[in-house]
């Protein structure tokens, strides 16, 4: 039975096709992909290397442009936006967590967290910021530079930055790829908590079944197409689907 949250769509991808190169050397990374990402939901995108999962993520986050097709974010067709609009969209409506090199080395943890609102010249919402900082447990580390933080702490700062601007969607690209399993579990816990407690929409690309098990829904890609999906995933059920895909 669909809940209210499932009915409301945060990101809608329609007929997305992405072709790299031209002539004989064309590579089709995405082929006519149509998929919805529910608001307030935690969706994982999985697939083998070269399946197009990162391309899909980049395109729906406005980092890359589709060859054809559309991406709607909160009713806006982002494929029609120019660079400035796209930049503003990323700044105001999307939160990013990358695998590595998430932080600006010259800024403190706090400045990194508030970077999007600093860039926009917006005042930061103190109460919300406090809540986010408390959630990710960074209270005493805010004045440190990235080089003074552990990998796990750096990723927590990245998550906090993504949350701080209350984006319509958080896009995470292998957020635990560079972390040990304990730190990874911690980060995924925060992300899940943000979804459950704050109603945050999260889309995450991962190749790790354990990471995927934190999500509420897994979309499987292979050769640029959506080939399967799984609701309420567990490590085991994800592994089972993956091995089926592989064979």
């Amino acid at each position: 039975m669909p809940t209210a949250a499932e009915e409301s769509v945060a990101v809608r991808v329609v007929g997305a096709t992405k072709v790299y190169g031209s002539g004989d050397t064309t590579v089709t990374a995405l082929e006519d992909v149509t998929v919805d990402f529910g608001a307030g939901r935690f969706t994982a995108i999985m697939g083998p290397s070269g399946s197009g999962k990162s391309t899909l993520l980049h395109c729906l986050a406005g980092l890359d442009a589709l060859t054809s097709g559309q991406v709607f974010l909160g009713g806006t067709d982002i494929s029609t936006l120019d660079d400035t609009r796209l930049t503003e969209l990323r700044r105001d409506k999307i939160g990013f967590v990358f695998q590595a090199f998430n932080l600006v080395p010259t800024l403190t943890a706090l400045e990194n967290i508030t970077l999007p609102s600093l860039l926009a010249g917006r005042p930061t919402d103190r109460a919300w910021l406090d809540e986010v900082v408390t959630t990710v447990g960074l209270g005493d580390r805010l004045s440190h530079r990235p080089s003074e933080l552990s990998g796990g702490q750096q990723q927590r700062v990245a998550v906090a930055r993504a949350l701080a601007s209350r984006p319509e969607v958080i896009v995470a690209d292998e957020p635990t790829g560079n972390l040990d399993s304990r730190a990874g579990a911690e980060i995924l816990g925060f992300i899940r908590a943000a979804v459950d407690d704050l109603g945050q929409t999260v889309i995450m690309v991962t190749h790790d079944p354990i990471a995927a098990s934190y999500s509420q829904r897994v979309v499987f890609l292979a050769d640029g197409r959506i080939v399967d999906e799984l609701a309420k995933p567990t490590t085991k059920s994800v592994l089972a689907r993956l091995s089926k895909l592989g064979s």
Binding site: T84, T87, F101, L107, L115, L118, L119
Partner: protein
Amino acid sequence: MLRITLASLRGHLRRLLSTSLAVLIGVAFLAGTLVLTDTIERTFNALFADVNAGTDAYVRRVADFRSDFGARPRVETALIATVAAVDGVRTAEGTLQGYTQIVGADGEALGNPGQGAPTFGGNWQRDPALNPFRLVEGRAPRAANEVVIDKRSADLGKLDVGDRTRVLALGPPYDVTVVGIARFGAADSPLGASYALFTDEVAQRLTGEPGRYDAVVAVADESVSEKELQRRISAVTPAGVEVLTGADITAEDQNEVAGFLTFFSAFLLTFAGIALFVSCFIIYNTFSILVAQRTREMALLRALGATQRQVLWSLIAESAVVGLVASVLGLLAGIGVSSLLKGLLAALGIDIPAGGTVVTRSTVVVSLVTGLVVTMVSAYLPARRGARVAPIAALRDLSVEGAAGSRRRVVLGTVLTAIGASLLIAGLAAVSDRPVVLVGIGAAAIFLGVAVLGPVIARPVSRVLGAPLPRIQGVAGTLARENAMRNPRRTAATASALMIGVALVGFITIFASSIKASITDSIDKAFRGDFVADSALFGFGGLSPDFAARLNNIPEVAVATGLRLGFVQVDGADSALLAIDPKTYPQVVDLEVAKGSLAELGTDGVAVSESKAKDEGLAIGDPLRLTFAESGPADFVVRAIYAAGDVTAPADHVVSIAAYALRVPAQFDLQVFINIADGVRVDIARAAIERVLADFPNAELQDQTEFKEAQGAQINQILNLIYALLGLAVIIALLGIANTLSLSVFERTRELGLLRAVGMTRRQVRRTVRGESVIIALLGTALGLAIGLFFGWALVQALREDGLTTFRVPVGQLALVTVIAALAGVVAAVRPARRAARLDVLAAIATE
């Protein structure tokens, strides 16, 4: 290893190109100067050999010393007959030249002998073998009021054969008719100097003494050699007369040009040296960054078995190729630069005859070797750092070059700066025989010392300089400041290059201001008159004394008193000498006589400045021998000691005009100081004086304020020339800033990608890069101005005794320098900022 070097060169071609540009500009300047001076020298050597070709003997009086303007005692007309009677002499004539200035068709005096080439008058040599001039129009002067002028003057003054005009000389303005126009060898005029050529008798009257010539020139007949002729003439000439062969006089003329060129090329080479010195910083910095960015590459080479030495030599070989390519291009560009410099000279009124460009082997060798050595030496330290990379670094992530200040750095920098400062001060105090060299080395040591200290101060100073940025530009400003602070070594080295140019600009600005302020102060203190007529001719020519005499005859003027400037030797040292009228001069100008009295100068009294009297232990009544180039030694008695120098021509000795006229035939007033009569309105008096001055267009009438301004304007002209030459060093430094920023942008690709990904607009990215550039530029400016201030202060202190009494810091002008530097920072950032903004976000964050 060579293959690796070449591959690496190919890989970094673009970045190395911008490095080469710094070397290229420096070498081009160097080569341009050498090419120009060689070209001028060869042209003039040929010219003098040509014009003296017909002269076989040159007979003149021995000079007691060589004065700047070649003044010496003259010979009697009778000597011509003596020489002509010598067996083997075909022709003998007198030759004569002195100051005259031709008035053009518009009534203005032609030429600007105060600052450019001199203006001469002389006699027209009748024998073509003796005459360097060739008529291109008209005929030789035959009557008293006929003149032949050089082609350049004819063109400039719009004078044609048959035109009537005037020539300014000794005595009243002389009315003439142009009867001929002549060229000097192949040139319209020699070195841009003007010539008015008269009959012998008129030339004697206008330029010196009736019945006398500068020398007797003779042409031999077929039967005798120059040497033999010299021997025969020497046998019949009186004591105190010397005989030179044609070859001797040619060599002397050529040496004179060579002497001028030595000064001139040393002046230009100084600026070429400064440009190359600045280039060193750019090369050092670029190679440092390249090596840092290639740490993993070096480490990989080391891990695969390359020795430290191999890596070092590979890097040095890379710099050698860059240096060589840049030097070759610089040498080629230098030929273009030489014509630019020639244009600069032409603008100053020095005409260089057309002639083939001379590129000597030594120019090629010097330019290439200098460029190569400068590049390799500058690249050595970075190369050594690269060679010392541990092989394990290949396996680790790129570590950002970080550490700012070690204790060693602080000590080394401080010691270098201190040594530089002491050398500079010692050089200025002239305790050495070669003070200029000492000052130069001292200044370079200070620059190096401060550059070594740079990384230590770069971080805190950048923090302060960048403090307003976050407020103005938000997070873009914060990032700009942080970027400037994150790598203090790089920031400091980049800023150091600019520091040098700014220090010299600041120094010269402060120095010029101090000179102007000192002059203004002394005019305020000493000048009591209403007007001054200033010829601005310091030592050769000036206002005819007729001018002052005529002013004293008009009712609007109470007193007009001339000041004459000459040069004498005192105890073997050249010294400027002023001649005044002891009765009238003190009414208009206060020399602040401390002891004795000017009234007692008479014809054998001399007044000595206080500082000179102190140095030499002179007191009233002491004897003092002054040697005049024109008339030999004369004994004087010290009759007065004065405190103030003259207002614009500080001199240590003052005699009466009566005494001066006894010993020097060319009597010209440098300036005439004027008091108007009581009860006469200033504007009416001025109009009356201007009417008299209309006949003497080689001087300008100024009241006190205008006089001060005119003195300032003369200094500004030199100042602008120096600014233009220093501009080159500043441009090289700006290229350095642009280069560093480009490399930094390249290095920060991923960071910029991240910033763009999380919502930084292109505009904000550009702002960040610009902000960093401005901070670097301001850092360089701040350091430069601090050093410039010190240089200025040290020089003014050293010249205190020589009349530089006021140390003046022109705050407004220095603020302007700062603003320009900040704007230059913005300009330097244009390309790197654009590149940073154009960055492909996806590619940037995807880079592994």
